[in-house]
């Protein structure tokens, strides 16, 4: 994630190098004899892929990068020319358009075609369609891992067993065949232990948002923080080093009483502390962030940064139970949670992070996130008393980013917060 013009901290430079190296490895994969697996962020099995020496490609990350680099409009147009509907998820169209346009990745290097598609069916039905589409395009196998939804807000023994059995009987044998080697369970456990270390530090980073002023922005800044752990690096020494460094930076900023870095400079006058639900709009990411930063609005906690793993409620990859750890990880990603649990989590964030308000950015693309958000907003308002705001945009389809409309709605939202603060101090 390399395009934000903020002052660079050491961790950011490290992340940039990590990602560049990964894309280099990918571009050389075929000549190096490496096998490539496309997979999704929620429910990604990075430790397992790493233990089998397989290289992951995450199409959602490519799509969001295309959005940030101004390429998504052309890719979406290409997919729509090929018969894809305007109504459907723009990530899928952006990715399909990118692969039809030469499959050039975010660093300008060509991405290798997949040797298999690992369809971790977690928290979103569109994933299934997406990989069916790519299967047609690349004529490669799909490995399906059906992840049950936490409809009643809990992981049951039956769900876990189903997951473990699929991992053991379907996913691992299929990956072993592609890798041409057997899984070394010790190596998998070693990687899971590294994951847990990085997860500990990431949680410390999130919790820094509870401080006043918050030294981080847990949404706009947060999407950078999750870059390594949501993609190819969970379960690696590089990720451990990155998260240790990031944590130290954040703690140092907190000790100095500094606010987060933003595209318009550091926030020095924290006026609004917000909790945000929903993904950001990548095509206008800096514009979007600046609308908040200009008002001194800091997002102290967000749910989007939990789509690839919800660690701040206690989950850690457990090296002693590798299959169960992978199962629980997949089952526990944010969008695999029931609406009731999502409301509880958001309400907890509002309280624990002393937020002044709660904002939904509802993206057109994503039914998984969006259906129910209006009701969630009312419930969180009722439970916490904090004002709720609602804006709409899209992930990578800039046709749905109405800057003036969003700015107006944000203004009204900030006024609501001001009015509430005035009432409380009166």
């Amino acid at each position: 994630m390399s395009t934000v013009p903020v002052a660079k901290e050491v961790s950011q430079i490290r992340q940039k190098t990590m990602i560049a190296d990964h894309f280099k490895r990918l571009s050389r994969a075929k000549e190096d004899g490496k096998k490539v697996i496309y997979t999704f962020v929620p429910g990604n099995l990075s430790e397992l892929l790493g233990a089998l020496d397989l290289l992951p490609v995450l199409p959602e990350i490519n799509a969001l990068q295309s959005g940030m680099r101004g390429k998504s409009a052309a890719y979406i147009a290409e997919a729509e020319r090929q018969g894809h509907s305007e109504d459907v998820c723009s990530y899928v169209k952006c990715d399909v358009g990118m692969s039809l346009s030469g499959n050039i990745g975010p660093t300008g290097e060509k991405l290798p075609p997949p040797d298999a598609l690992l369809l971790s069916h977690t928290g979103c039905f569109t994933f299934m369609k997406w990989f069916e589409l790519l299967r047609e395009q690349y004529k490669c196998p799909v490995i399906m891992l059906h992840v049950p939804y936490q409809g009643d807000g809990e992981i049951t023994a039956e769900m876990r067993r189903y997951m473990v059995e699929q991992l053991r009987d379907v996913v691992i044998p299929a990956l072993e065949e592609i890798a041409g080697k057997q899984l070394d369970l010790n190596e998998l456990s070693r990687r899971l232990a590294l994951s847990a270390q990085a997860e500990d530090d990431l949680v410390r980073v999130w919790e820094a948002g509870k401080r006043r002023p918050a030294p981080i922005d847990g949404y706009f800044g947060g999407v950078y923080y999750v870059g390594p752990i949501f993609s190819a690096f969970r379960g690696t020494e590089e990720a451990v080093a990155y998260y240790r460094e990031l944590r130290e930076e954040v703690e140092a900023r907190a000790a100095r009483g500094e606010g987060p870095l933003t595209p318009i400079g550091p926030i020095t006058n924290e006026r609004y502390r917000l909790v945000v639900e929903g993904p950001p709009c990548w095509t206008s990411f800096n514009d979007f962030w600046s609308m908040f930063a200009k008002e001194g609005a800091v997002v102290v906690a967000s749910t989007y940064t939990k789509v690839g793993g919800l660690y701040d409620t206690g989950f850690r990859h457990d090296p002693a139970q590798p299959y169960e750890a992978l199962a629980d990880y997949c089952l526990g990603c944010y969008t695999n949670h029931s609406l009731t649990r999502r409301i509880e989590l958001l309400s907890k964030y509002v309280r624990d992070y002393s937020a002044d308000g709660f904002l939904v950015n509802s993206v057109k693309s994503c039914n998984s996130f969006s259906v129910g958000q209006l009701q969630m907003m009312r419930e969180v308002e009722a439970r916490t008393g904090a004002p709720g705001g609602f804006i709409e945009s899209d992930l990578v389809d800039s046709r749905y980013f109405g800057k003036a409309n969003i700015a107006n709605r944000l203004q009204s939202f900030f006024q609501m917060i001001d009015a509430r603060k005035a009432r409380r101090s009166a």
């Binding site: 109504d87 189903y162 039914n367």
Partner: protein, 392 residues
Amino acid sequence: MSHDPAATPLEKARELVEDLTFSHAKAWKAAHPGGLVVGHLPIYVPRPLFEAMGCLPVTIYGGGDQVDVVRGDSYFQSYICHIPRSTVELGVSGALDGFDAFVFPSTCDVIRNLSGMWKILFPQKAVAYLDMPQNFDAHLGGKFYALELRRIARMLEERGAKALTSAALAAAIEKENERGVLLDQLDSIRRDEPWRVRASEAYVAIRAGTLLPVEEHIALLSELIPAVRQRPARAYDNARVVVVGSFCEQPPPGLIKTLEQSGCDIVSDDFNLGLRAVRGKIEVAPGEDPLVALARAFIDQGTQTACRYVGKAKKGGALVETVKSSRADGVVFLAASFCDPALLDQPMLEAALDEASVPHTSVKFAENTGQFQSVREQAGAFGDSLKLWGAA
């Protein structure tokens, strides 16, 4: 005008389908003290499970074009399909008050999240999300699915339904198989002699079955099928089409009729797919737990649809097969606006049709669409072109 021998059963079915106060369910409850009415969203739930527990499963297809959505819209953003809006409208307006429980099958993200909304909106009702497997190995997905069904059964039992017994379930499966035979007969009439029963008529006759106890649907179909066979033959010069994409939100009846009036005979479709989500007889082996058999039928005999992972099968292969077996000239894609599963599936199905040289066209709708002029023109032109192609 001569009397239509099929008028009575069709009228009965139409009345049921158009009654969005669900008075038949209320009457059923009054006649079956202790019985539960269980509403479910599309596409599919295994009805014999509910019937065996003395429950009446009722498919809720939203409000169609009959309900003014007022409050329902305030729950959903503009870019979400229509069925959840009118379903919430039905719920908050009290039309579903007589229902005891609701099951939301894992059709898509909309229905999945609606299950959570429903729990919050109607805390006094029993509400379950039913996770259908996307792994089609009987020892993995089949086993998990059977456990899911037991979980639902436990929930119903806690609400006062009869305990599930193997004997009752085996008997309910037997009835479901009987219904399946009749549905197959109706399908073959539509295929072989489409003038005897129009798609719009078959539609209400089948949809009535999503509201009725299985015996009553069997009775209705048993009355209808011989009746349509008595209808006089007529000259026939329509294009034969398969309609695909309306497996969840249902097109307004006017839209189906518009397709017919534009010269297209719908010889196969995926409307009301819930009754056809499992094809063929559900076999219970001697000594086998019928619940396991019910789960296995879904695993092994499930209909290919956008909401079911295609596994190793060729994408679109089933559609091409349907076109062939129903001797159709072309395919009309009829998807609800903003229906991600149908619309994401469509390019793959189109590719399979192109490969098999099957012509196709595409129409989008919302359940409450009232204007069909452009569909009439499009379908008319498509039908004409099919006849020309066919003659060439």
